[in-house]
C-alpha cells in the first residue's frame, strides 16, 4: 500500500491505497464521490473527467498515487452556497443533458476548456470536447450550453470589473 495525500474539492484527504487504484475509483469508492463515471476501457469517452490542479484530465487514466500532492475538483465541488456554477446552470438552461451519465465529465471538461479559452467559437468548443462522448444529445445542446456559459462568465467578469 502507498500513502497518498491530496485535496479534493477543498478538503484534505489522506489514505493508504493500492498503487494500481485508479483515481476515478479512489474518488468513487473511497471518497464516495460518484458523479464521475467510468464509461470505457480505452481513455476515449471522458465520462470520468475531473480537474487536476485546474486542468481537465481523465481520472480513469491517472493513478491515485499520481494525484498525491495535488488538487482535484469534481462536479460535487463546483457549485458553492447552493448555487450552480455558471457551466452547470448553462447546461440546465440549454437542456444539455438527458440521461446524465456523461454529464459530470462533460461539465468538468467544459470548465477546463473555458478556463483556457474563455471565448471559444463553436468549432473550438466541438474540438475542445472531442474527448467527451455523449449518446443522448447529439451534442447540439451541449455546445449551446458551453457557448452560453462562456457568455455568462464573460458577462459576470464584465459586471465585476464595472462594479
Amino acid at each position: 500500500m502507498t500513502h497518498i495525500e491530496m485535496t479534493v474539492n477543498g478538503d484534505k484527504r489522506s489514505d493508504e491505497v493500492e498503487p494500481r487504484l485508479l483515481l476515478v475509483h479512489y474518488l468513487r469508492e473511497v471518497l464516495g464521490l460518484r458523479a464521475a463515471n467510468v464509461g470505457c476501457d480505452t481513455t476515449s469517452c471522458g465520462a470520468c473527467t475531473v480537474l487536476l490542479d485546474g486542468e481537465s484530465v481523465k481520472s480513469c487514466t491517472v493513478l491515485a498515487v499520481q494525484a498525491s500532492g495535488h488538487e482535484v475538483t469534481t462536479t460535487e465541488g463546483l457549485s458553492g452556497d447552493g448555487e450552480l456554477h455558471p457551466v452547470q446552470a448553462a447546461f440546465r438552461q440549454n437542456h444539455g443533458l438527458q440521461c446524465g451519465f456523461c454529464t459530470p465529465g462533460m461539465v468538468m471538461a467544459a470548465v477546463g476548456l473555458l478556463a483556457e479559452n474563455p471565448h471559444p467559437t463553436e468549432a473550438e468548443v466541438r474540438e475542445g470536447l472531442e474527448g467527451n462522448f455523449c449518446r443522448c444529445t447529439g451534442y447540439h445542446n451541449i455546445i449551446r450550453a458551453v457557448l452560453a456559459a462562456a457568455d455568462t462568465e464573460q458577462g459576470q467578469a464584465n459586471a465585476e470589473v464595472s462594479a
Partner: protein, 270 residues
C-alpha cells in the same frame, strides 16, 4: 480494465530513477504522463512489476533555447508544448503536432518523452520529430548520449533506448519563419492517424505507413531536384510498407500518402 498489480516508486531525481531502472531491469517501466503506458496496462497488454514515477521531476520539464536548438524537457506535457510561445515561434510544426495528440484531457497529461519512447508509428510526435530532424538525449549508467530521430525509431513500438536508460530531453533545430505543413487523416477527431504527413524544410515524414515513422525519401529527392509539390508527392508512398486494418487497406493508404504529402508540401494543416 484495471492493471495487474505492481509496486510503485516516485523517483526523487533523474539519478534516482536511473538507479531504480538498473535495479529492476525489465521488470520496471517509467511512468510520466502515463497516457501511453496506463492504457496498455489497463488492457493488460503491459504488466510491469514496478512503476517508476518521474512525472514529478520538474528538472525534466520545460522549454529553452541552446544555440541553434530548441531543448524540450522529456516530461513536458503536450498541452504546454502546444501553447508555448517559444515552440510556436521556433518549431511551429512541433507545437501543432502536440496540439493534435488525442484530446485536451490527454494533452494535459501526456508527455513528449513518453510519446517518443512509446514509438507508436501512427502517433503525432514521433512523426514530427522525424520531420524536424530532431534528436533525443538519453541518460544511462554510462552517461549521456544523443540519438537522431532517424536512428531512434527502430520498429513497431521499438526504439534505440536501452531498458536502463532515461529519455531526458529532445533537441529540435530552430526554424523560425520556415513554412511547414501537417496532415493527419482521421476518421474521428481523437483517433490516431490513418495516415499522417509532416513536412518542413525539404523533409517529409509519414505516420502509419510502416512499423515506424518513415521519411518519404523519394519524394524529398524529387523536391530537392526541383519537382513541384504535386510531382514530388507522387513518390510519397515509395519505400513504405503500410498495413491493413479496419480503416484502410494498403492501396488506400498509399493513395492517401500521396494526396496528404502534396497538401503538406503546400503548407496546409489538417
Amino acid at each position: 480494465m484495471i492493471p495487474a498489480q505492481f509496486d510503485y516508486v516516485a523517483a526523487e531525481s533523474a539519478t534516482h530513477a536511473l538507479g531504480l531502472l538498473a535495479q529492476h531491469g525489465d521488470d520496471a517501466k517509467l511512468l510520466a504522463g502515463g497516457h501511453s503506458l496506463l492504457p496498455m496496462m489497463k488492457l493488460r497488454l503491459a504488466q510491469p512489476e514496478v512503476l517508476i514515477d518521474i512525472g514529478g521531476l520538474t528538472e525534466l520539464a520545460g522549454v529553452s533555447v541552446d544555440g541553434e536548438a530548441l531543448v524540450i524537457g522529456a516530461t513536458t506535457r503536450h498541452a504546454d508544448l502546444a501553447a508555448s510561445d517559444l515552440v510556436r515561434a521556433e518549431a511551429p510544426l512541433l507545437a501543432y503536432a502536440a496540439s493534435q495528440v488525442g484530446d485536451p484531457q490527454i494533452r494535459h497529461r501526456g508527455t513528449i518523452g513518453g510519446s517518443l519512447s512509446h514509438a507508436d508509428p501512427a502517433a503525432d510526435l514521433p512523426m514530427a520529430l522525424v520531420a524536424l530532424g530532431g534528436s533525443v538525449e538519453l541518460l544511462g549508467p554510462g552517461g549521456s548520449r544523443t540519438v537522431s530521430a532517424d536512428d531512434f525509431f527502430l520498429g513497431f513500438f521499438e526504439t534505440a533506448m536501452q531498458p536502463d536508460e532515461l529519455l531526458t530531453a529532445i533537441r529540435i533545430p530552430r526554424r523560425p519563419g520556415v513554412p511547414w505543413g501537417y496532415q493527419k487523416f482521421v476518421r474521428r477527431a481523437n483517433d490516431w492517424a490513418i495516415v499522417g504527413v509532416a513536412a518542413v524544410d525539404g523533409r517529409i515524414a509519414l505516420a502509419n505507413m510502416g512499423p515506424k515513422p518513415l521519411r518519404a525519401t523519394a519524394a524529398e529527392e524529387a523536391l530537392a531536384a526541383g519537382a513541384s509539390a504535386a510531382e514530388a508527392a507522387q513518390h510519397a508512398a515509395e519505400g513504405t510498407s503500410p498495413g491493413e486494418d479496419i480503416h484502410a487497406d494498403r492501396e488506400y493508404r498509399r493513395h492517401l500518402a500521396k494526396v496528404l504529402t502534396r497538401r503538406a508540401l503546400e503548407h496546409e494543416t489538417a
